[in-house]
């Protein structure tokens, strides 16, 4: 078994209104920063998972992302392995 570190980004689908992002974008103007045309807020979920190999780790995380971390009706997600170097578990 090896330990894999991954990060899942969950974000609203582009067609879904993000009121928190819009409110934050308007605060950037009040801070004095012009030109922010798009600001959308998502979640970054960091996790470590034990698996026999990277493919197994990936499929476990994919299942988790679809069923738990994101709501596919309104959210998209993307997955990134944080560290390509896998750590062997004794």
């Amino acid at each position: 078994m090896s330990l894999f570190k991954a990060r899942v980004f969950v974000h609203l689908r582009p067609s879904v209104l993000d009121p928190a992002g819009e409110a934050t974008r308007s605060a950037t103007k009040r801070l004095g920063i012009d030109g922010v045309t798009q600001l959308r807020i998502g979640k970054s979920i960091e996790l470590e998972i034990e698996a026999a190999n990277k493919d197994e780790a990936r499929s476990k995380i994919e299942l988790m992302s679809d069923r738990l971390l994101a709501n596919p009706v309104i959210e998209d997600w993307s997955l990134e392995f944080k560290d390509e170097q896998k750590t062997p578990i004794n």
Partner: protein, 217 residues
């Protein structure tokens, strides 16, 4: 004597405060929309509880940039009295008028309860009717009321006699049981408990009346 209550989109304790100050105490009180910049003529400003700008990003993070709060900083510099209650306390820390930050309660629950408190400092004008270590009970209602600061800041708060209120039984994991603090000068008070909800005999608790009525004398 005039009190101004700042109203943000999402404030929901603004009318409770007005009922307490004007209805129960007879102090002329006005609402100030968050886009106002003129605070002339007010003796004290209240930043009420609620969910300013929906608490998006972080509690108080967006409210901190409201036009009225630039004017509030000069109001405080000139010695004006400010109290931030609950979300108002969160806004004052985001604004930097008070040290530290308020984070998610330790047990992750939203707590709606009554808390026993000890008066720890009578430095601020809001607390001048009390004696140190007086006990009072006030309603609390918050999901993010866990006060946090570095050890250096905690020491500074202690050295400056800026810890205004402590919980008798810490409900949310706040460092050092802190429920409310003041700035160094003592004209700005931030507190998680709601004194405005304890000013009317009909509600069965008037322990908060003393804090708001200090402005009358």
């Amino acid at each position: 004597m005039n009190i101004g209550i700042i109203v943000f989109p999402g404030s929901n304790c603004d009318r409770d405060v007005r009922w307490a100050t004007e209805g129960c105490l007879g102090i002329p009180t006005s609402f100030l929309w968050h886009e106002t910049t003129d605070l002339n003529g007010y003796d004290a400003i209240v930043i009420p509880g609620g969910f300013s700008y929906g608490d998006y990003l972080r509690c108080g993070a967006i409210a901190r940039f409201a036009p009225v709060l630039n004017s509030l900083i000069s109001f405080v510099d000139k010695g004006g009295k400010v109290i931030g209650i609950c979300n108002g306390f969160q806004i004052l820390t985001e604004l930097g008028l008070l040290h530290g930050a308020l984070t998610r309660n330790k047990n992750l629950n939203f707590i709606c309860d009554r808390a026993n408190l000890s008066i720890e400092s009578t430095k601020s004008s809001w607390m001048k009717n009390y004696k140190k270590h007086d006990s009072i009970s006030l309603p609390i209602a918050h999901g993010e009321g866990r006060y946090q600061c570095s050890n250096d800041v905690l020491k500074k708060l202690q050295d400056d006699d800026s810890i205004a209120l402590r919980y008798a039984h810490n409900p949310n994991g706040s460092i050092n049981d802190i429920a409310g603090i003041t700035n160094k000068k003592g004209n700005v008070l931030g507190m998680m408990p709601h004194p405005e909800r304890a000013c009317d005999d009909a509600l069965g608790n008037i322990d908060g009346k003393s804090i708001l009525s200090t402005l009358l004398s």
